[in-house]
């Protein structure tokens, strides 16, 4: 059964250490105890995994209230991590018996433990160390020879296994079975020989391997990239947000001596729970510390770069932009914060009088907002993480979910595993979702449109006539449009057997709600506009545009792609999706910005690149954008940059596109600046500054603010907080997104 959204659980009365309290029925005792501030020591229990009761660290004494008011105590202590709360439960967590038992459990666990804490990367933040300090025996009575096993065995590129330290809690094994689903780890052998390992000692290739490092309660699984880099007391921890995809995982950046040395997950039950993917955890550290940092403004001098000061850089840029007289364009990267993106479009529009701005690098560059509003009356992304568990069918379409949206993948898998949500996947090649999908459609590459058409054709017939009439009153033209798209035709075009398609349509017709997740294959389809429209019709026809837990989700790919659209880095839309042609909206922004906004819609990314070729755009501003790498047609991007007269590249690192720049402005990475990101579910989340900007580099928002000061001669904002206040006052969707209101875990709009 899919999880009911916002269901109210039944409460039961229990008593812990003499304190009576009410908890939801079935809550585990170990969790219930936290409500009165009682932290029961644990090893194998993990909040987001099924309890197994393997380590016996969490023993408590338990009894039940009898009808006559007396308490009947259970004869033996019970593991509190496997004990659900029921009416009348009474528990003692501090009794003499329990103190003795805990000491015994710890002494036992430490018998074979090597106690090499001084060289262990977990030392200082190790649950085993902590529990021993608080509850363990001060000395061991074990004088025999300890068991010896391989130390520092590399399981994968990222994970190191030290078998001597393992306490066989099974967390890592359970993670790969329950959460990531790749089941690559297993407990081999029995008894004292038990050890977690990959089958056949092959490489551990999970995309989520980094999580086992974090959940291992000892130093048995450690990070190879963080190995011996720092001890917990050497590092400074700062809250941040991941920039590797649009999932918006909450993270901690741990830095030492001006470098991020490690990234850990920060718990946010609404977003990433406590997980991250390896991209966010390891590749991001590599990215942040990549050696090709830009630390000094530079101008091109023939083939060489000449370092200049910021003042010279601004002067040069403004002079060349002024010479171009509105024939300027700008592309923003999706790693910029909302504040930076907002200031960027403000600078381009009111400062340089140009609407030629965009952030999209895929083939789809149409007016997505308009289509979604008119066809579905919803934003292009209808749902949030929670809805995945509440829907009845998740349809993954054209998305390599595990790669593009790792956290959505984990949530979809959880929905399937815990709530029995059906899953269907359509993708041209093997896809990790297939592991748990009921329907697997491997269509011929590029035939996405045919597949949706075929589905629509079948559904038009299959769905009851009243439903069709209610959902799509004017369905006749659609029927006419699709008259050739019979199952046979679809089979011809997509390579999917007609019966399979019919069966899938049956499934769609039978479920009360369906949640569609799309990906890169949709954005980059040659007829992406048509495809997006057809997907919207599909959503509408099945009635999912009215469903709270269903709907169409055209998932953005870049970290802050959603924010870029919200902030109006679009050729035809101002912040908050107001049209530039809209006189009243323009007036509002003109008032606020103190400078007029041009009224004609600008060119989209492709248009801008083409215009560079024809000379219609003479100066191009690439703020964190790297079209040579990210654009679907790199050759076009390369030619355009070469042809454009003056290219300014503002980035934290030397990129492929920066090779074509005439002026380089060194910007900051997410670790060195402050701001907010908006993830795919439109959750606005804050990140904080962890490091000082290296060299002369400046945060993106500051560069835009300083250019704004020089170009428009108005007081610029002094910090991102101020920018967000300005956004909140101008963009209705962000009205409640001031920093105070966002807090640590962010806020979802719409």
């Amino acid at each position: 059964m899919p999880r009911a959204k916002n269901a109210q659980p039944k409460l039961v009365n229990i008593e812990i250490n003499g304190i009576p309290l009410q908890v939801p029925e079935g809550e585990l005792l170990v969790e219930a105890a936290k409500r009165i501030g009682e932290d029961i020591p644990i090893f194998c229990y993990h909040k987001y995994m099924k309890p197994v009761g393997m380590c016996r660290m969490c023993l408590v004494e338990v009894g039940y209230k009898q009808p006559d008011g007396s308490v009947r105590k259970m004869p033996k202590p019970q593991a509190s991590c496997t004990l659900p709360c029921t009416e009348g439960l009474v528990a003692w967590t501090q009794s003499e018996q329990i103190i003795k038992d805990r000491r015994a459990v710890l002494e036992f666990l430490l018998i074979n433990h090597p106690l090499d804490c001084p060289i262990c990367d977990r030392g200082g933040e190790c649950p085993l160390q902590n529990n021993t300090q608080f509850y363990g025996p001060p000395i061991s009575r074990y004088i025999e020879i300890k068991r010896h096993l391989p130390k520092a065995f590399p399981l994968s590129k990222y994970v190191m296994l030290d078998l001597e330290r393992c306490i066989q809690c099974g967390r890592c094994v359970r993670f790969t079975e329950e959460i990531s689903g790749d089941a690559q780890l297993a407990l081999l052998f029995r008894g004292a020989q038990t050890q977690p390992h990959t089958f056949q000692l092959t490489e551990f290739t999970s995309r989520f391997s980094g999580n086992v490092i974090e959940i291992c309660p000892v130093g048995a699984l450690t990070s190879r990239t963080y190995r011996f880099r720092a001890r917990p007391w050497d590092i400074v921890t700062q809250k941040s947000i991941c920039t590797m995809c649009s999932n918006g995982c909450n993270l901690y950046f741990d830095s030492r001596a001006g470098k991020v040395v490690r990234i850990n997950a920060r718990e946010n039950p609404e977003v990433n729970e406590t997980w991250t993917c390896d991209k966010g955890k390891f590749e991001q550290v590599e990215f942040l510390n990549a050696p090709n940092r830009l630390t000094q403004p530079m101008r091109r001098n023939g083939t060489a770069w000449e370092p200049i000061s910021w003042a010279q850089a601004y002067e040069l840029m403004l002079e060349r932009f002024a010479r171009a007289r509105g024939a300027v364009g700008g592309l923003a990267g999706t790693r910029l914060s909302n504040e930076a993106l907002y200031l960027f479009q403000k600078l381009m529009r009111a400062g340089f009088q140009s609407n030629h701005i965009d952030h999209r690098m895929t083939r789809y560059q149409g007016d997505l907002w308009a289509h979604a509003q008119s066809l579905l009356n919803k934003p292009p992304v209808a749902n949030e993480y929670r809805d995945l568990e509440a829907t009845h069918l998740i349809f993954v379409f054209g998305a390599d979910l595990i790669d593009e949206q790792p956290m959505v993948f984990l949530r979809a898998r959880k929905a399937w595993r815990h709530y029995g949500v059906k899953v269907a996947v359509a993708y041209p090649v093997a896809n990790a979702v297939e592991e748990f999908a009921e329907t697997r459609l491997r269509y011929r590459a590029g035939s996405e449109l045919a597949l949706v058409k075929g589905l629509l054709y079948i559904l038009l017939d299959k769905l009851p006539a009243e439903t069709v009439a209610a959902n799509l009153p004017d369905h006749e033209w659609l029927r006419a449009l699709l008259q050739d798209c019979t199952p046979a035709w679809t089979q011809d075009h997509t390579g999917i057997a007609a019966e399979q398609l019919l069966a899938f349509a049956d499934t769609i017709a039978s479920v009360p709600s369906m949640l569609i997740l799309t990906g890169e294959k949709v954005w980059n389809h040659p007829e992406s506009e048509e495809l997006v429209k057809h997907l919207m019709w599909l959503t509408r026809l099945t009635g999912n545009c009215h469903q709270e837990s269903g709907g169409l989700n055209l998932l953005p790919l870049g970290a802050n792609e959603q924010g870029a659209s919200d902030m109006g880095v679009l050729p035809n839309r101002l912040p908050g999706y107001a049209l530039v042609e809209d006189e009243a909206a323009r007036e509002r922004f003109t008032q606020a910005w103190g400078a007029p906004v041009p009224s004609t819609p600008g060119l989209n990314t492709d248009g801008i690149l083409q215009a560079c070729l024809t000379g219609e755009i003479q100066a191009l501003y690439l703020a964190g954008a790297n079209p040579v790498r990210e654009h679907y047609d790199p050759t076009l991007a390369e030619r355009a940059l070469r042809a454009c007269e003056f290219v300014v590249v503002q980035d934290s690192h030397m990129t492929e596109s920066a090779e074509y720049a005439d002026l380089l402005l060194p910007a900051c990475t997410v670790a060195e600046s402050e701001g907010t990101y908006t993830n795919w579910e439109r959750r606005v989340q804050r990140f904080w500054r962890a490091l000082e900007p290296p060299g002369e580099s400046k945060p993106d928002w500051l560069i835009f603010a300083e250019l704004w000061l020089r170009q428009v001669r108005q007081t610029p904002p002094f910090n991102p907080r101020e920018v967000m206040c300005e956004i909140a006052s101008l963009v209705p969707q962000y009205a409640e997104c001031t920093y105070e209101a966002l807090g640590d875990s962010g806020k979802r709009w719409g």
């Binding site: 090499d116 001084p118 060289i119 030392g123 200082g124 130390k151 520092a152 190995r227 011996f228 880099r229 720092a230 001890r231 007391w233 050497d234 001596a257």
Partner: protein, 156 residues
């Protein structure tokens, strides 16, 4: 006024004290030709010790840095390999620095060290000309390699 009683006698008395002190053994040490012996538990400049076989005791665990109340120790660890081994076990200190200007010579680092690698010894001659010179690096702190017996004999 009585010259003898009021003038000469007190002068004589004073000179007697001077004379007494003149004949007493002296405390002055003719530094730097002479150096005073230090008490065995004196805590001055740090030394990083080695084992008898020449391997470094320090394993780069950073516990001293954690214990130091003024945070003047910086340790950067790295991994021993079979071809390049500095200390027993997996880990050694690649960089080990103490800012002697900031150090308060409390000896907490010595207390915290699990292998007895860092000790405070009696070298009190710490003056120098530049601030940089007070950053004691690992090379400066490390005990010299023990000379092997045969080599020592040949040298003798």
């Amino acid at each position: 006024m009585n010259i003898l009683r009021d003038v000469l006698k007190p002068i004589g008395k004073g000179l007697r004290i001077t004379l007494r002190h003149f004949l007493e053994p002296k405390d002055t040490v003719f530094y730097p030709e002479e150096r005073k012996e230090q008490f065995p538990r004196t805590r001055w400049r740090h030394v990083l010790l080695r084992y008898e076989n020449g391997l470094e005791r320090c394993i780069g665990c950073s516990l001293c840095a954690g214990a130091c109340p003024v945070r003047c120790i910086y340790v950067e660890a790295a991994e021993n390999t079979d071809t390049e081994r500095y200390s027993p076990g997996e880990r050694y200190a690649k960089r080990y620095e103490i800012n002697l200007l900031r150090c308060i010579y409390c000896g907490y680092c010595q207390d915290a060290c699990p292998t007895g690698a860092i000790v405070l010894r009696e070298d009190y001659e710490l003056a120098d000309y530049t601030r940089d010179a007070f950053i004691a690096t690992k090379e400066m702190l490390l005990e010299p390699l023990p000379v092997r017996d045969e080599v020592a004999e040949v040298a003798r």
